[in-house]
Amino acid sequence: MKIKISILVCSIFLSISAWSQQDRLHVSIQYNYALPQGSLKNDVVEKGSGRGAVLDVQYKINPLYSIGVGFGWQDYYEKFPRKEYQSGENEITSAVLTNSVQIIPVLAKGRFYPLGNEQKSMVQPYLSAGVGFSLINFEQYLGQFGGSGNKLGFSWQGGAGADIRFSKTSRAGFTAGVNYLNSSYKEFGFGNFNSINIHAGIYIPME
């Protein structure tokens, strides 16, 4: 399965590369590791999630700024040992509790490149900010019995990172960074489902 996924991802990039003519428009695909924060950590999952990815498309307005759109996907999962829960006034339920959450942010993003000299430097640090919405799918199971719900909520993101060209003449390179994602989730008494994200991958021109 993982080999098939890898082949598909490589095929996507080779296809995109073939269409690329200039380098003002870039696409990046990155692996994402997420550390839950706030209500997501306190009430739903305590562990970090290594099942995530980010797809960003950025258009360079000038050497200092770029704008674009970003898609993300993160899967959180945690199974808690059997425990007794007060499920009614005089009712006790003993069960293994499983929480499963998928967060899919779709954000309008902007970047600021403080060096602004992309032709001279191999490394281009940047600051980024984004705003948009997140689709949140939350499933909760007591034993094998559970339910799910989807919620669309406001999201914003702020972060920093760096693009590193493969070589001095390359228009593609590595990219990595850290950001904080806030996703509104005001359901069932929960607060926002926030996360600190560490991401790394590659970018290529796609115009």
Binding site: F71, D75, T93, S100, Y141, Q144
Partner: protein
């Protein structure tokens, strides 16, 4: 890249990532899949009761039809219930010796309505024939139980009945019930463990 392709790639990305999701149900063992739910009447003091008698068979409710039956699985549950009650200081007597408490065992199979909900006793008046306990013409009463789960597949329930005060109350009150749901519940090998789980979360059932 044309507009269609620009839309297709994010969709492909999200579909690809969704396939990487960890399935919560496939990560459960049979034991972890099971839930144990108990309801009790908080006004009952079990030290007021001395003896009990167990029904000699199980009531089977199958798609709206009900009948009594005694299988190896039922016998395993009946044995386990007797052991648990005796370990808590209650004395088993014949149903003809005026037991203080009666215990019913019920097996549920696929039924179209939420029969375990409040209508379980209120609507049907109890499946175990009141004549069995020597209270012909009496109905079953007590607190409305099973408010948390609707029932769609299989389940096993145990009910403790207040026979000691049936004449005074004019009804056979259900003072406790336990519900077992999940994988492997219709098995002789899981019966004792499941009954233990119900009694362990009901420490108030003690002489």
């Amino acid at each position: 890249m044309n507009s269609f392709q620009k839309i297709v790639w994010p969709v492909l990305f999200l579909l690809l990532m969704q396939s990487c999701r960890k399935d919560p149900l496939s990560d459960l063992t049979f034991d972890e899949s099971r839930i144990y739910v108990t309801n009790n009447d908080p006004d009952i003091n079990y030290t007021d009761y001395t003896s009990f008698s167990m029904g000699d068979s199980a009531v089977v409710i199958d798609n709206g039809f009900y009948y009594t039956e005694l299988t190896d699985v039922d016998q395993a549950y009946i044995d386990a219930i007797k052991s648990s009650m005796q370990a808590r200081g209650f004395v088993e007597v014949s149903k003809d010796d005026a037991p203080d408490l009666g215990i019913n065992l019920t097996r549920f199979y696929s039924t179209s309505t939420g029969i375990i909900d409040n209508g379980y006793w209120g609507g049907y008046g109890g499946y175990y024939d009141p004549y069995y306990w020597g209270y012909g013409g009496y109905g079953y009463g007590g607190a409305p139980f099973y408010t948390t789960y609707s029932y769609t597949e299989g389940a096993i329930t145990l009910d403790i009945l207040d026979l000691k005060n049936a004449t005074e109350n004019g009804t056979i009150n259900i003072i406790w019930n336990g519900l077992i749901r999940g994988s492997g519940i219709f098995s002789s090998t899981t019966a004792a463990g499941s009954v233990d789980a119900l009694f362990n979360q009901s420490p108030y059932i003690q002489r």
